[in-house]
């Protein structure tokens, strides 16, 4: 099937796009890579009256370091992130996470801004950004604002983005030396939506104890979940099988991932726990080898 009829604009600049959004915000959709929107439109589950195509706005397509932070333009494609050397060096969690996104063809088109704005709770990058304490630059004709990931992700497919706003960029703080990161997920077939996944960041002190641990989960709730209590529990602890197991059990406490055809709530909780254990173990190993 093909989509229902819609109006189409292809602004050449960010300002043009913001003008159009100010005018049509309520009944339009921004299209970037189209990897989620177009299938929804072809199924006619989404029937936007107007599409604002931002593919021609080159100023939104970049990945660069700014004052130590990583700044990713909204129109950067997944494949750019996947293959950017500076990302692999400084933010390997993103490199690892983006490899789990769909298939190569999808990553060639899909954009970072699109993934963030779509806010699928099973998506990899929102969880990775949550782990990294990323902020999102939002712009509209009314001005610019920067919101943290936890203000931005509200619920399934729901964000703090106003109808006239555009996600312009993602800001990711730098990681301290001696930090290890890991991203793991479980899907029955590569490219499927994850039934459970975890991103972990571990920083070890000189004494080998955990100085900082961050755990973010995907497919765990309506938005990316940060397991704060488990993170707290690991601070100052010696990272071994038993402390990781205990923290992972803590990480999934109170979670109620939705039961469906692909897995019951109980099964999914078990998966999240396993993914957390595996992510923490890997991250700890990487932290240890980076400090040694």
């Amino acid at each position: 099937m093909k989509p229902a009829q819609f109006e189409y604009d292809d602004p050449q600049t960010e300002d043009e796009a913001l003008d159009l959004l100010a005018r049509h915000g309520d009944d339009c959709k921004v299209i970037a890579g189209g990897q989620s929107l177009v299938p929804l439109m072809n199924f006619r589950l989404a029937r936007p009256a107007r599409l604002i195509d931002i593919n021609r706005i080159d100023s939104l397509s970049y990945i660069r370091r700014e004052e130590g932070r990583l700044v990713i333009g909204a129109m950067a494609r997944h494949t750019h992130l996947e293959h950017a050397e500076e990302v692999a060096q400084g933010w390997p969690l993103l490199t690892e996470a983006v490899g789990w996104v769909g298939h190569a063809q999808i990553r060639n088109r899909g954009t970072i801004g699109g993934s963030v704005a779509h806010a699928d709770p099973a998506a990899e990058l929102p969880a990775a950004f949550a782990a990294l304490d990323a902020k999102f630059q939002l712009r509209s004709k009314r001005g610019s604002r920067t919101v943290s990931w936890d203000e931005f992700f509200v619920s399934e497919f729901t964000t703090a983005l106003a109808p006239d706003e555009l996600v312009a960029a993602v800001e990711v703080p730098a990681l301290d030396p001696g930090t290890g990161t890991a991203f793991v997920e479980y899907a029955r077939r590569h490219g499927d939506f994850a039934l459970g996944g975890a991103a972990a960041i571990v920083k070890l002190g000189r004494d080998g104890r955990c100085e900082r641990a961050t755990i973010a989960l995907l497919s765990a709730g309506p938005a990316p979940v940060r397991a704060k209590a488990a993170e707290q529990q690991l601070r100052g602890a010696k990272l071994d099988d038993s402390s990781i197991r205990a923290a992972s059990a803590e990480a999934v406490r109170g979670l109620r991932p939705t039961s469906d055809l692909h897995g019951s709530t109980e099964y999914r909780i078990g998966l999240l726990r396993t993914m957390t254990e595996r992510a923490l173990t890997k991250a700890a190993q990487r932290a240890a080898s980076s400090t040694s």
């Binding site: 099937m1 006619r44 029955r188 077939r189 055809l261 692909h262 897995g263 099964y267």
Partner: protein, 744 residues
């Protein structure tokens, strides 16, 4: 010249892999209109009214048609081209919108408003059989289907003369009985008692269903369709239009995957619409519509009791099973009964199979219909029995295997079969003999298919350039045309690249069977061989005259007819053809016909070996090795046979990995896209080692047997058996629930 038995690339392979093949949706006709269906979103409801006003005024709309607008068609109510008064399943076509473009038709269809009065819904087949359950089909439609009690009953089997009262929503009951099952089970040393079930699955052809029709000036109709059975479509269209068959021309198009699901589906409706509008029409289904409209394979459940003596000798089998047929009367049970009773020697059995109707999309044949279901139950139960008896699972099967002369699945004495050879080959296969590493398990399962056969004919013409055109009316869904070309090339005496198989339309093609039932090469091979030999005879007849030599002294070498042993005496084939077609010529044109009617089936057997490891935390399993050992009689084109087996293995394993048609209580399909309907993917599969066994058929062409269906049969039991041995956990329902294998 040796062509048959040597590997050749598929003749149409390059065009398929390069995307050049022209499918039905790629063909255009001047003035072509497009049809979009409005499907029922209710599983059981009366149609109170249909509001077409908004749709009629939509741009580009030419006509909108409801069931009431069509002439009466003799078909059960759920199977009318468009619903009349009532709907029986979600996805049943209710309205057809005809418009200038596909998009216009889709836009207008969205504006059609059908007012339904919901009726009670029957989704679960077990509940459907209870007294007082809502009736899915009208009583008279149910009663039309006779009990299939005698389907496949062995000569010494008895059927329950007086069939017991049929439970509600059961269109027919299969009853097979021999000996005293009760007593035998009581005296057995070991008994497995368990329930096994399989979800319904869909053929999932890469090419969605599509058809195009054009009314002809003589009142006839031309149909372009990717059908497995052009003659079948022709007859059906002629019947529904009430015109002679010669006025219907079916042009068989490339089939982008059929597997039993592409015989006829949309054609009856389309020709009625085309007659009404007088215009050429095309209807192509979206993938979601394919899941909802195009019939699938039934779900099934089996209660099994299987008993044996301490030495493994089977003493009794009791099986009570049902098929969930959706809104139609089913027919899989008879075939299933034959496999349950005819594969192993078992002196006592009692088989009862129910064909249940529910408010779901009606079912259809799908690659070895009735066999994957029967063998998942039977081969799982045998594995459980082997574990109980602490016996090697292959030994257990060898001890009970049927042999030549034993009554086969159809009750008749079996011809020479290769069940033992397949089992013995598996027994010495490295995947079976090599010790398992920690956490690994190896499982085996057997499968078979009886095989179809249909009389067939073929034409053969020698072209002016010396090439051969073989005319057939049977389509190629498996690479079979390459095999037929190889038979023709070898029979006539030309290289393979000089032969073209022309699959013609029903107006001119020699009659050929349905491309189904693993029968194309088996049924057509002899006809093509005879046609090519006859063409050769006709050519040599002319050469005999020209060369003044006896036909038995002639041979065809490098495009020349030569006199054996006399190097200088030859005549070019092209010259002979020219002489037989020239103005004022004296020789008759070379135009040969070949016919065949294979007199008996050649049952096919296969054994699969699966090796698995599991992840105890996620419950996920990974195949670490897989082998398929299959008797093909004689492989006409060995890589083609192996390719068929690869595809069949994967299609069969899909039932275990995750394919399922899952419905909610309202009869809504929850797996109507490839997002939720989990087809197996390459990352789930290891290399598949195929071992061809060649025990020649006494009746098949050049010793060949069928190939296509057996490989889709034993996979799910093989993998489930391997998992049980790797983990100690037996999962008896398909698809396999990963959470069952979690151990923390």
């Amino acid at each position: 010249m040796s062509i048959v038995g040597v590997g050749h690339r598929r003749l149409e392979g390059a065009e398929k892999v390069s995307g050049a093949t022209r499918f039905t949706d790629d063909v255009d006709l001047p003035g072509l209109l497009h049809v979009q269906l409005v499907l029922s979103h209710q599983a059981s409801a009366n149609i109170r009214g249909i509001d077409l006003d908004a749709a009629r005024s939509a741009p580009g709309v030419i006509d909108i048609v409801t069931g009431a607008d069509l002439p009466s068609v003799n078909a059960p109510s759920p199977e009318k081209p468009l619903a009349v008064g009532r709907v029986f399943y979600v996805g049943q076509p209710v309205v057809a919108v005809i418009a200038e473009s596909q998009s216009a038709a889709a836009d207008a269809a969205a504006l059609v408003d059908v007012d339904y009065e919901p009726l009670s819904i029957t989704v679960d087949p077990v509940l459907a059989m209870r007294d007082g359950a809502g009736r899915v089909l009208d009583a008279d439609e149910e009663a039309d289907a006779a009990d299939a009690s005698m389907h496949g009953a062995g000569t010494d089997s008895e059927t329950n003369g007086a069939t017991p009262r049929r439970p509600a929503n059961v269109s027919s009951v299969v009853n097979l009985k021999r000996g005293d099952t009760d007593a035998a089970l009581k005296s057995a040393d070991a008994v497995v008692k368990a329930t096994y079930s399989l979800a319904g699955v869909h053929h999932s052809p890469m090419e969605p269903h599509v058809s195009m029709v054009r009314p002809e000036p003589d009142g006839g109709m031309t149909v372009w369709a990717p059908t497995q059975g052009p003659f079948h479509v022709r007859d059906e269209v002629a019947k529904v239009l009430g015109i002679p068959t010669y006025k219907v021309r079916v042009v068989p198009m490339a089939v982008g995957g059929g597997f039993g699901g592409k015989v006829t589906l949309l054609e009856t409706l389309l020709v009625l619409l085309a007659r009404r509008t007088g215009r050429a029409l095309r209807l192509n289904l979206t993938r979601q519509q394919v899941f909802a409209v195009a019939r699938s394979a039934p779900a099934a459940s089996f209660d099994i009791e299987l008993g044996a003596k301490r030495d493994g000798t089977l003493v009794a089998l009791r099986a009570r099973f049902h098929y969930d047929n959706g809104a139609t009367a089913g027919w899989h049970g008879g075939i299933t009964g034959m496999f349950l009773t005819g594969t192993y020697q078992c002196p006592n059995f009692e088989i009862t199979g129910y064909e249940v109707s529910t408010n779901k999309t009606p079912v259809e044949a799908y690659r070895a219909p009735g066999a994957p279901q029967a063998y998942f139950a039977l081969e799982s139960a045998l594995d459980e029995l082997a574990l109980q008896l602490k016996m090697d699972p292959i030994e257990l099967r060898l001890r009970n295997a049927t042999r030549e002369g034993d009554p086969g699945p159809d009750g008749k004495p079996l011809p020479r079969i290769a069940m033992i050879e397949c089992l013995e080959e598996a027994q010495k296969h490295p995947l079976y003999t090599k010790p398992c590493v920690e956490g690994e398990g190896v499982g085996i399962a057997l499968g078979s298919w009886g095989g179809a056969r249909t009389p067939a004919s073929a034409g053969c013409r020698v072209e002016p350039d010396g090439t051969l055109t073989v005319h057939v009316g049977t389509v190629d869904v498996s690479g079979s045309s390459t095999g037929l070309a190889m038979i023709a090339a070898e029979s006539f005496g030309v290289p393979l690249d000089k032969v073209r198989i022309e699959t013609s339309d029903t107006g001119v093609a020699p009659f050929g069977p349905l491309a189904a039932g693993s029968q194309v090469t088996y049924s057509m091979g002899g006809a093509v061989q005879e046609a090519a030999l006859e063409a050769r005879r006709q050519l040599l007849e002319i050469a005999t005259n020209e060369l003044e030599a006896a036909p038995e002294d002639l041979e065809i070498v490098d495009g020349r007819v030569t006199v054996r042993g006399v190097p200088g005496r030859f005549v070019e084939v092209t010259k002979l053809v020219a002489m037989s077609t020239e103005f004022m010529g004296k020789y008759r044109p070379i135009q040969a016909t070949g016919r065949s009617a294979v007199q008996a089936a050649s049952p096919m057997f296969t054994v699969h070996i699966a090796r698995v490891r599991t992840d105890a935390e996620t419950g996920e399993f990974q195949l670490t090795g897989y082998a398929a050992i299959q008797d093909v009689g004689r492989a006409i084109n060995p890589p083609e046979a192996m390719g068929q087996i690869h595809g069949g293995v994967v299609q069969g394993l899909g039932r275990a990995f995750g394919e399922q048609l899952a419905y909610n209580v309202d009869g809504q399909l929850r797996t109507s896209s490839f997002l939720d309907y989990e087809l197996p993917t390459a990352d789930q599969l290891p290399d598949i080692d195929v071992k061809l066994i060649e025990v020649a058929s006494a009746v098949g062409p050049l010793g060949a047997k069928g190939v296509g269906e057996p490989p889709a049969v034993p996979g799910p039991a093989a993998i489930s058996n391997a998992l049980a041995r790797a983990t100690g956990i037996r999962v008896r329902d398909l698809p396999l629930d990963r959470s069952a294998f979690v151990r923390r």
